[in-house]
């Protein structure tokens, strides 16, 4: 139990031990733990950033949807207006065409009526003349009724 040279040997051993522990355990392990701390911090900040970006993206998406809706409404309104326009135009065109056809038909009818009238007049006259001829051949002296016949022919 005396203090001997063992003390000095143990002191040297102790110093060497400190050096070895530092070299093989403390230095690599604390460096690794520092790296891990850094990595975790990076991961956390990245996730924070990701969250923030997600929020921004969501906001942007909402904005875009809103704009799209507005645009769709606008386009819908335009389309409605345009379709009304087209319908109106078609209706007007149809009306005009109908009027044109109607008036053409009316004119045709009028002409046909006129022609029929003339035809009828002519036939009536011919009939009258034929009838008159028959009557006159029997009873009327051509000479005596010459004046009347001439008058009749002239009138027709």
């Amino acid at each position: 139990m005396n203090i001997t040279v063992t003390l000095i040997a143990q002191m040297i051993a102790f110093v060497v031990m400190i050096w070895l522990v530092n070299k093989f355990l403390w230095a690599p392990l604390s460096a690794m733990m520092e790296a891990r701390r850094q990595r975790i911090a990076d991961g956390l900040s990245a996730s924070e950033r990701g969250k923030h970006e997600l929020k921004l993206a969501e906001e942007r998406a909402v904005q875009i949807i809103k704009e799209a809706k507005e645009k769709a409404t606008e386009i819908l309104a335009q389309a409605n207006a345009r379709s009304n326009e087209i319908i109106d135009e078609a209706r007007n065109n149809a009306k005009a065409e109908a009027d044109r056809i109607l008036s053409g038909a009316r004119a045709e009818i009028d002409r046909e009526v006129e022609r029929a009238k003339q035809e009828l007049g002519k036939q009536v006259a011919e009939l009258a003349i034929a009838g008159a001829e028959r009557i006159l051949k029997r009873e009327v002296d051509a000479k005596a009724h010459e004046a009347a016949l001439a008058d009749l022919v002239a009138r027709i």
């Binding site: 001997t4 040279v5 063992t6 003390l7 040997a9 031990m17 070895l20 530092n22 403390w26 604390s30």
Partner: protein
């Protein structure tokens, strides 16, 4: 029952036999080979384990032993940071870790049955073998001495030679009691490493002694009816002291580490902090 073998010379011989180092040399130039071999083997074990852990460190998902080492390292680091605050010192933390692990392992040798290793080595022809290096005052005072030299070094490094001398002159009683101050501070500074080394030595030595006394219980009794009483008692007592000693060896290793940190932290305090 190797105690029985030694009981020819009585209990005192048995105990003294167990407290004698395997040594070479005479007087001061005695080398306690058992102390050196056991402590160096334990040191080699630490370095080996450290190299194994240090070689493939997992940053992502550490497992098993690395977790344990990290836990110890974190614990030591916290102790150092608590004492040192912002002051950065690359040496203190590895030093504290070494103290904790090495002292704990050397103390742990105390838990190995007192007669086991000496009995085995007796068969090889070794007369004496003290297994626990921390029951050798040379070990504990060596570590305390290194800590003391470091405190002197850091005192001079932080305060300067003049500051260090001033500490002896004007502390603790001011400039009017310089002779008293010198004596007081010298005692204070020397008491630190002495108490540090002797505390560990004393605890471990006493623990070892209690183990030896417990081992003597049935060893002293002759074979016969008395053994039926003493043997169970020895088992119970041994188990009890063993469990209690687990606490002691851990506590002593922890105390040694904390005091090492505290003394070195005091050495780092500048003049204004006093």
């Amino acid at each position: 029952m190797s105690a029985a073998e030694n009981s020819g010379g009585g209990s005192v011989d048995y105990i003294q036999h167990h407290l004698t180092n395997w040594s070479v040399g005479e007087g001061f130039w005695t080398l306690n080979l058992d102390t050196l071999i056991v402590s160096l083997m334990l040191g080699a074990l630490i370095v080996f384990a450290a190299m194994r852990v240090g070689r493939n460190l997992q940053v992502g998902a550490p497992s098993g032993f690395q977790n344990f080492v990290e836990m110890v390292l974190d614990f030591v680091d916290k102790q150092v940071k608590d004492s040192f605050g912002g002051k950065d010192n690359k040496l203190i933390a590895p030093l504290a870790l070494t103290v904790l692990v090495w002292v704990w392992l050397m103390n742990f040798m105390d838990l190995i049955p007192v007669d086991l290793v000496p009995a085995i080595l007796h068969g090889v022809g070794l007369e004496h073998f003290k297994l626990v290096p921390t029951t050798d005052i040379n070990t504990t005072l060596a570590m305390a001495g290194v800590v003391f030299l470091l405190t002197v070094y850091y005192n001079i490094k932080v305060k300067g030679v003049v500051g260090y001398v001033k500490m002896f002159l004007f502390h603790p009683f001011g400039k009017f009691l310089i002779p008293v101050n010198i004596i007081m501070t010298a005692i204070e500074e020397l008491a630190k490493p002495l108490s540090l080394g002797l505390r560990l030595f004393g605890n471990m030595f006493a623990g070892e002694l209690v183990f030896l006394l417990i081992a003597l219980l049935s060893g002293a009794a002759t074979l016969g009816a008395a053994l039926l009483i003493w043997f169970p008692l020895q088992v119970v007592l041994d188990l009890g002291w063993l469990l209690f000693h687990i606490l002691i060896i851990t506590l002593q290793a922890f105390i040694f580490m904390v005091l090492t940190i505290v003394y070195l932290g005091m050495a780092h305090a500048s003049e204004d902090d006093h």
